[in-house]
C-alpha cells in the first residue's frame, strides 16, 4: 500500500475510534434531546468492567462485550427511570428537556466518576490485548484499533438500517418528531424512551470496552471523551448515524494529514478549526436533515 493510503487508513482508524465514542450519545441526544453529559462516565464504566473481567477473571474482552452491553443497558433503564423519566414528562418544551437533562447529567457525572475513584482508585489501569499488528497490504495496524474501527462502521450501518427501514425505526423517528402524535397512533413511548436511552448507554459501554483494549484507563477518562462525542455528533448532524461516522472519520483524516503536512503541534488547532469551519458553512452539521 502506498504511503498516502497508509496515512489515510491511519486517520480513518483513529476516526473510527472517535465515531465509536460518539455512537451512544448520538442516540440519546440526537434522537431524544437528552443531553447526557455523563456519557463519558458510562463509557468509563464499560472500560472498567472489561478490565476487571479480563485481569481478575481472565475473560476474553471480546467475548465480554455482550455482557457489558447488557449490564449497561439495564443500568440505562434504571437511570432513565430514576432521573430522566420525570424530566421528559414534566418539561414543557424540548429546550427545557435539554437544559434539565444537562444538569442531571452533571450530577450523574460527579456521582459515577467519584464512585469509580472510590472503588478502583485514581491509578492508571490497562491490559494488553490484541496489540499485535495486523499487516494489510504492507501497512501495519494494531488489532485492537482495527476492532474498534470495525465496530464503529458495523454499528453505524446497523443503526442507519434500523432507523430507516424497520418499524421500530419508524416508531423512534416518529417519537422524536412528535411524542404526543406518536402516542396517538399507538406507539408505546413508555417503552421506547427508556429502551433508546438504555441502548445509548449500552453503546457507550461497548465503546469503553473497546477503548480499554487500545488505551489506558482511569476513572477521570470520561470527560474528554464526552467532549469528543459532542464534537463528532454536532459535526455530523445530530441524530444522524451516517453523520456520526462521517464526522469521526473527517476528524481522524484531518489529524493524520495535518500532522504529516504541518506539525503535530498544530494538530489540535487544525481539528478545531475544521470543526468550526464546517459548522459555519453548515450550521446543522454535515448530514443535516
Amino acid at each position: 500500500m502506498g504511503f498516502w493510503l497508509e496515512l489515510a487508513a491511519s486517520g480513518l482508524i483513529t476516526g473510527g475510534i472517535y465515531a465509536v465514542v460518539a455512537l451512544g450519545l448520538n442516540l440519546q441526544y440526537g434522537l431524544m434531546r437528552i443531553m447526557n453529559i455523563s456519557h463519558g462516565e458510562f463509557l468509563m464504566l464499560g472500560a472498567y468492567l472489561t478490565w476487571l473481567a479480563h485481569t481478575v477473571f481472565g475473560i476474553n474482552p471480546v467475548a465480554f462485550l455482550p455482557v457489558v452491553a447488557i449490564v449497561l443497558f439495564l443500568t440505562g433503564l434504571a437511570v432513565y427511570r430514576l432521573c430522566f423519566r420525570r424530566i421528559t414528562r414534566t418539561s414543557p418544551s424540548v429546550e427545557i428537556i435539554e437544559a434539565r437533562s444537562l444538569l442531571v447529567g452533571f450530577g450523574l457525572m460527579y456521582l459515577v466518576q467519584n464512585a469509580a475513584y472510590m472503588t478502583w482508585g485514581a491509578d492508571l489501569r490497562g491490559y494488553s490485548f490484541l496489540a499485535d499488528a495486523v499487516e494489510i497490504g504492507g501497512a501495519r495496524f494494531a488489532g485492537n484499533s482495527l476492532l474498534a474501527f470495525g465496530f464503529a462502521v458495523a454499528a453505524s450501518l446497523a443503526l442507519l438500517a434500523v432507523l430507516r427501514w424497520t418499524m421500530l425505526g419508524k416508531a423512534i423517528r416518529a417519537m422524536m418528531q412528535s411524542p404526543t402524535g406518536a402516542q396517538l397512533v399507538g406507539i408505546d413511548t413508555a417503552f421506547l424512551h427508556p429502551a433508546v436511552f438504555g441502548a445509548g448507554l449500552a453503546l457507550a459501554g461497548v465503546a469503553g470496552a473497546l477503548l480499554s483494549m487500545v488505551y489506558e484507563i482511569t476513572p477521570g477518562m470520561g470527560e474528554p471523551y464526552t467532549v469528543t462525542a459532542l464534537i463528532v455528533i454536532t459535526l455530523g448532524g445530530l441524530g444522524s448515524a451516517a453523520g456520526c461516522l462521517a464526522g469521526g472519520m473527517l476528524l481522524g483524516l484531518v489529524e493524520a494529514f495535518g500532522m504529516h503536512f504541518t506539525s503535530p503541534s498544530l494538530k489540535m488547532l487544525l481539528s478545531y478549526a475544521v470543526f468550526i469551519a464546517v459548522l459555519l458553512a453548515r450550521p446543522k452539521g454535515l448530514f443535516a436533515r
Binding site: A122, G252, P264
Partner: protein, 397 residues
C-alpha cells in the same frame, strides 16, 4: 416539606460553621503533630498523584505512628494527616493551603502533586514560612524563583538528559530523533537534551513536538522511522508515553535505543504493554534490587497498598518524607530552624544520601532505567546499575 428544608438548612449552616472554623491549634504537649496537604484525588492530576505521591504520605504516617510517633527533638508525638482533594484545580489547591497554613496553622505541610501546583503554593509557603520538600516538581523556572522554603528532591531535567546522553555516547549512538510534549516539562527536557547531545556528539536528525491529549502519533512515527535514527527519545507524559510505545510497536519501528519519559516507571506501563517493552528505557531512579532499604520500601508499599510504587518519583516522595522526619528529629517543629536544617543537613534516604544546594537535590545523579523482564533495571550510571544494559534494544515482541 418546608420544615424539613429549614431543618436541613440549619444543619448545613451549623456544619459549615464548624467545618470552616477549623480545628483549634493544638496546645497540649503530646497532642498529635498535624501535617496538612492538598492533593488530587479526582480530575486529571489524580492518576499521577495517586500513583506517586499520596500513598507514600499515608504509609509514612502509619509507619511513624506504629513506631510510637514522630521524633520531635527527642519527644515522640503521634502524627495526624489532614489530606484534602484539590480537584486538580489551581484555585482550589491554593485555597486549601491557605486554610491549612493560615487558618488551621498545621505544624507541617506536604507538597501537592505536579510542577504547576508546586508553582502555585510557592508564594504561600514563603508568606507563612513552611518548608516543603517536593518530589514531583521539575524545572529550572521553579528553582529560578529562589524560594528559600522550597526544596526539589527530584532530579532536574539537565541531570536526567545528561545521563541519557552519556549512556548513549558510551554505546556509540550517533543519531537521534526526539519528540516532546508542548508543556513546560517537554520543553525544558528537550532543551536539556539538545544541549547534552550536542556535547556528546549525538546528532538530532528530527525534532517534533505535539500537544497534550493526542490520540494518534503514527504519522509522526512513520516519518521518523523512514529516517532511521539510532535512538528515539520521547519526552512525553503518561498518555502519550503509552501511545508512542504501542504505535512504535505497531509499525515495527525498532531503533537501537528507545526512550520514553514520564510513565515508563509505572507498573501499569508493564501491565498495559506486556512483554513488548523489553529494552525500553525511561526515567527511573531505583528498583527493589538497588539496596536493602529500597527492597524494604517496595515490600512495605506492596503490603500496605496492594500495589507497587513507581520506580521514579515514588521513591523521591518517600525520601522527601524521610528528609522531613530526620530534620524534625534534629530541630523540632520550629519551621525556621527546620528550613535551615533541611537546607544545611545531609539525610539518609531510600534514594541514598541527600543534600540540598540552592533548593535543589545536589547528590542524586541522573539515572537511566530500562525494562528487562518484569523489572525496570537501572542501567546508568554504572555505580547505581542493577543490571547491564540491553543494547541494541531487541525487536518488539
Amino acid at each position: 416539606m418546608r420544615r424539613t428544608l429549614l431543618k436541613a438548612a440549619v444543619a448545613v449552616a451549623l456544619g459549615s460553621a464548624s467545618a470552616f472554623a477549623g480545628l483549634a491549634p493544638a496546645q497540649a504537649q503530646d497532642a498529635p503533630v498535624r501535617i496538612g496537604y492538598a492533593i488530587a484525588r479526582t480530575g486529571p492530576w489524580a492518576a499521577g498523584a495517586q500513583i506517586t505521591q499520596e500513598p507514600n504520605y499515608i504509609m509514612w504516617a502509619e509507619q511513624v505512628n506504629a513506631a510510637g510517633g514522630l521524633n520531635v527533638k527527642g519527644k515522640k508525638r503521634k502524627v495526624e494527616l489532614i489530606g484534602l482533594d484539590d480537584r486538580s484545580e489551581a484555585e482550589t489547591m491554593v485555597r486549601t493551603y491557605e486554610k491549612l497554613m493560615g487558618s488551621d496553622k498545621v505544624d507541617l505541610i506536604l507538597p501537592p502533586w505536579g510542577t504547576g501546583a508546586n508553582f502555585a503554593v510557592m508564594p504561600l509557603i514563603q508568606k507563612f514560612g513552611y518548608p516543603m520538600v517536593a518530589p514531583t516538581a521539575t524545572g529550572r523556572k521553579l528553582l529560578g524563583m529562589k524560594n528559600p522554603y522550597f526544596f526539589a528532591i527530584l532530579q532536574q531535567p539537565d541531570l536526567m538528559m545528561d545521563a541519557l546522553g552519556e549512556f548513549l555516547k558510551a554505546r556509540n549512538v550517533k543519531t537521534a530523533a526526539v519528540i516532546h510534549v508542548d508543556e513546560l516539562f517537554g520543553l525544558e527536557q528537550a532543551a536539556a537534551l539538545e544541549k547534552s547531545f550536542k556535547e556528546k556528539g549525538i546528532r538530532i536528525i528530527e525534532k517534533k513536538s505535539y500537544p497534550l491529549g493526542v490520540k494518534d502519533l503514527k504519522p509522526v512515527l512513520n516519518d521518523i522511522k523512514a529516517k532511521n535514527p539510532d535512538a528515539f527519545v520521547a519526552l512525553s507524559y503518561p498518555p502519550d508515553t503509552f501511545l508512542v510505545t504501542a504505535q512504535a510497536r505497531e509499525i515495527a519501528f525498532n531503533p537501537k535505543a528507545f526512550y520514553a519519559s514520564v510513565g515508563t516507571a509505572f507498573p501499569v506501563y508493564r501491565d498495559k504493554m506486556g512483554p513488548a517493552i523489553e529494552g525500553v528505557m525511561g526515567l527511573g531512579t531505583l528498583n527493589p534490587k538497588s539496596s536493602p532499604a529500597a527492597k524494604a520500601y517496595f515490600d512495605a508499599h506492596m503490603a500496605r497498598h496492594k500495589k507497587e510504587p513507581d520506580r521514579w518519583a515514588s521513591a523521591h516522595a518517600w525520601a522527601a518524607l524521610q528528609v522531613m522526619q530526620q530534620a524534625v528529629a534534629k530541630v523540632g517543629l520550629d519551621r525556621k530552624a527546620l528550613r535551615d536544617a533541611i537546607a544545611g543537613g545531609e539525610f539518609d534516604t531510600v534514594i541514598g544520601k541527600v543534600r540540598f544546594r540552592n533548593g535543589e537535590n545536589a547528590t542524586t545523579p541522573g539515572v537511566v532505567s530500562q525494562w528487562q523482564g518484569r523489572e525496570f533495571e537501572v542501567v546508568w550510571p554504572p555505580d547505581r546499575a542493577t543490571a547491564p544494559a540491553l543494547h541494541p534494544k531487541p525487536a518488539w515482541k
